[in-house]
Amino acid sequence: MRLPLLALLAKEPAHGYELKLALEQTFGQAYPSPNIGQIYVTLKRLEQDGLVRSEDVEQTTRPNKRVYELTLAGRDALRAWVGAPCDGPRVRDEFFVKLILAPMAGLADRMELMNSQRRHYLGIMRNLTELQADADPADTPARLLIEGAILHLQADLDWLERCQEELV
């Protein structure tokens, strides 16, 4: 949550609720609607770390609101984040570890493990294909994220098949 908030504040100063709305508008359906409490807590920590500063802005009909803006240190942190490559392939190693270890311990049959994992993946895939069919065509971030998830899941299934070929 920290860096997306910094990125939004790099555009313009904003208060907590505006940041929540901006996240929702930018990522559409693709982002779990952020919890406002979590946004306030994160902003407070960013301020403690010197990455943002804030001031109270008086409002006539409502309580004062606290508006946040990026500091120079915040801008540096953001630049470093943007410039750094992100983690490589995600390997679902929890299942893999289970697949290797459980049969050694006599706790499960490999084919059974793979069958139940495949069923689970296909259930998730059903959800994703339904989401894809229902997705708002104008919501590009959501569409691309669904497609990304589908491709990852297909890779997981292909990998499962390779495990089946080699381990059974």
Partner: protein, 274 residues
């Protein structure tokens, strides 16, 4: 350990039943449309024996959509070809609509396919010297429809698949996605009892795959029974059941159960980091 969910047995075939045979016992649910028992396919060439299908018992109910997955060489395509009579079974039984069909002659299979089986392949297999319209009308004409009926059905199908404007074109002038839609129209032209599909999206890009996916979903919703070999989990996930074939045998056979879905939709599957 390989599991066979449907133990071999003599489940009764379902209607229609030829006259004169004893009435079958009450069918188990769901009613069987296509069923195999101990199906085996062995290839022998130059002294080499390959057991491609080794005792498969599967069942497809009326209106059911079943996907067959499994590693390359697990016997998926062979199984589909044997079920469609494109290759003879070595032993075992195949029952379609209550009729035992594994002993049919080549000509008998041809008639059966015309009336009850639609086929879609990875590489479309359209007749290149005929127009799109003729490709789709041909199966209906072969099955005895009048030219008027065949044309009406073809027009409906091409319109439904969004390629009505390609009727007069040669298949080669169409994109891969369009050719696969024509192949699908041809396969559905006779309203077959079962659609057999072998990697129908194996040669398509992701947007064409989505189109074919939508069409299959619609056909299935309209009651079309489908048995499909695929590596593509997107398509397999639309099926009612997925059979996993391994080493020529059924390793798994299970209904697809969607993971419970909550209000945030995509966000619950996908977490942005940062």
């Amino acid at each position: 350990m390989r599991r066979q969910r449907h133990p071999p047995g003599d489940d009764p075939p379902v209607t229609p039943r030829p006259e004169g045979l004893p009435a079958p016992p009450a069918p188990q649910n769901p009613p069987g449309l296509l069923r195999t028992s101990k199906l085996v396919k062995v290839y022998r060439a130059d002294g080499v024996t390959v057991e491609a299908v080794r005792g498969v018992d599967i069942e497809l109910a009326i209106g059911e959509f079943v996907a067959i997955m499994g590693p390359s060489g697990s016997g998926k395509s062979t199984l589909l070809h044997v079920l469609g009579g494109l290759e003879p079974a070595t032993s075992g039984e195949i029952w379609l609509r209550g009729q035992r069909v594994d002993r049919l002659s080549t000509a008998g299979w041809a008639v059966l396919r015309r009336q009850h089986i639609g086929f879609v392949f990875q590489f479309f297999n359209l007749l290149s010297n005929m127009t799109v319209a003729d490709n789709v009308e041909l199966p209906a004409l072969l099955a005895g429809a009048t030219p008027r009926q065949a044309r009406k059905r073809r027009e409906e199908l091409l319109a439904e698949l969004g390629i009505a404007d390609k009727a007069g074109a040669a298949p080669a002038r169409l994109s891969g996605g369009e050719q696969q839609r024509v192949a699908l129209a041809r396969a559905l032209a006779n309203e077959p009892s079962v659609l057999l599909a072998d990697e129908p999206t194996g040669n398509l890009d992701s947007s064409n795959t989505r189109d074919v996916l939508r069409l299959l979903r619609r056909a299935h919703a309209g009651g079309q029974a489908i048995l499909m070999v695929t590596h593509d989990a997107r398509i397999a996930s639309l099926a009612d059941r997925v059979i996993n074939l391994f080493d020529g045998m059924v390793a798994d056979d299970a209904k697809i159960v969607p993971v419970s879905r909550t209000v945030n939709g995509v966000g619950d599957f996908l977490e942005l980091r940062g």
